[in-house]
């Protein structure tokens, strides 16, 4: 039987699943601002059942690694890594901006996502899944300035989940570890101000 791959994307306010069988992709896409953690396994179950498949038929899992909603990323990654562990199969972590670049059959493109706080997640590509430089979080103005003339600009955070599944089917697991790529650091500052003065040692 042909290879079956389950792809998961929960980085944006949408639950996206694809079951790839050979080259045929069946997708399940539901918009949801929240609730992915509750819905994801019943949804996977539906997707498998309507394709006459079971978990044990899966040969690979693919998941987006970000940037995106911190919580959304962790739901997708926990689900994917849990499935990989249970089934003993590889989990392919695909960076979200690279996954978004799969949607455009063009030579030069910039993926520019609203990262709030007047910032953007930004990365340039010279073709689908061919990055030029690393993903970064930039001031929105700076990101716009860096768009090369004539480049396509992709601003939707919603990955083409079938394209992602096809990409992951042949990707080398060693090059795509399922580790979150938050890009933006956690808001945490060392706290010293509450300390009472000590006699110098």
């Amino acid at each position: 039987m042909s290879l079956r791959l389950l792809a998961i994307d929960t980085a944006a306010p949408r639950l996206q699943l694809a079951l790839l069988t050979g080259d045929d992709a069946d997708t399940l896409v539901e918009d949801m601002p929240q609730g992915q953690a509750e819905r994801i396994f019943p949804a996977i179950d539906e997707l498998l059942k309507r394709n006459g498949a079971a978990y044990k038929d899966l040969a690979r899992i693919a998941v987006t690694t970000g940037p995106g909603s911190f919580t959304g990323l962790r739901i997708g990654l926990s689900a994917a890594r849990g499935l990989g562990l249970a089934l003993g199969i590889p989990v392919i972590g695909v960076p979200s901006l690279l996954a978004l670049s799969l949607a455009c059959r063009c030579d030069a493109m910039a993926v520019l996502l609203d990262a709030r706080r007047n910032e953007a997640y930004f990365q340039l590509f010279s073709g689908p899944a061919i990055p030029v430089g690393e993903p970064a979080v930039l001031a929105m103005d700076e990101a716009r300035r860096r768009i090369p003339p004539g480049a396509e600009v992709l601003t939707s955070p919603f990955v083409d989940i079938a394209a992602l599944a096809r990409f992951a089917a042949t990707a080398d697991p060693a090059g795509y570890p399922p580790e979150a790529a938050y890009i933006r650091d956690a808001d945490a500052k060392p706290q010293e101000k509450f300390r009472v003065a000590r006699v110098p040692q």
């Binding site: 562990l85 300390r195 000590r198």
Partner: protein
Amino acid sequence: MRVLGIETSCDETAASIVERDAAGRATILSNVVRSQLEEHAPYGGVVPELAARAHVSHLDRIIAKAAETAGVKLDEVDAIAATAGPGLIGGVLVGLTTAKALAAALGKPLIAVNHLEAHALTARLTDGIAFPYLMLLVSGGHSQFVLVRGVGDYERWGTTIDDALGEAFDKVAKLLGLGNPGGPEVEKMAAKGDPRRFNFPRPLLKEARLDFSFSGLKTAVRLAAEQAAPLTDQDVADICASFQRTVAEIVATRARSALQKYAAELPGQPLRLVVAGGVAANKAIGAALREAAAASGAELIIPPIPLCTDNGAMVAWAGAERLALGSSDRLDISAKARWPLDSEDMGLNHAA
């Protein structure tokens, strides 16, 4: 039966496999804990986003290690249990979602465990005691007396109205420039100090209720420290010793009252006080509780400290207790930041 337990509600990433025999006796086959102390050390406390990030990076390997150590394949367990709350929601989501994935892919029941129930049932894992009993849970996140009537059957008799006791230790350690977690650091310094040098207040203690309040005490410690500043090592030791004496007195006084209430409301039942949570490791508090229990004619049970602090074995055990009663949960269950032990949905579920 064998149950895998997953714990990710604070700053320990933990997994364990526990076996429960037909008579209800437990064997811990593995118990793997990865502490995040180093990740949080520069911040003087647990940073929720950093905790969640560390959990998702490490949990699958910790589970694999727990299975390997136990010599059990994951598909040989009978159920997957995970803390579903209360706790830091980002971390709870990681553990619960991973547990759902394992349960779905392996075709095993999922048990969504209340972290407080896992603490409450630990004495049955370690000492095999029967219901009912009185539990004192004292940790970084909780300080409460709970009547434990059975699995899923709890009555909260008192709780903290502000800070948890472990939190108070941490805050005192922080203002004195000691390391984190504060409990062991304060205890170490207290050993060299004069417990009578400072007289700190004992909030709420004159009232008959079984609640705690540690916020005012923490402020009193700060004021005393500021007055004595700049602090010598001896000042720090004296403050720690005085603070520790005060909280030990508070806990012991409350424990005596709680045992009195227990004796009055459950006449004829053996008087048993079970301690759970990381603060159980504090020797001064342990000694004060031993005295209080002895004076009340009660048996005091303090499980081994690695099972009092957060761990996967207690979650696996709580899962086993629920599974033995036919209870399991659906894969669409939500993680909960807040989940009191006496809330309505603590009863047994027969969903699967």
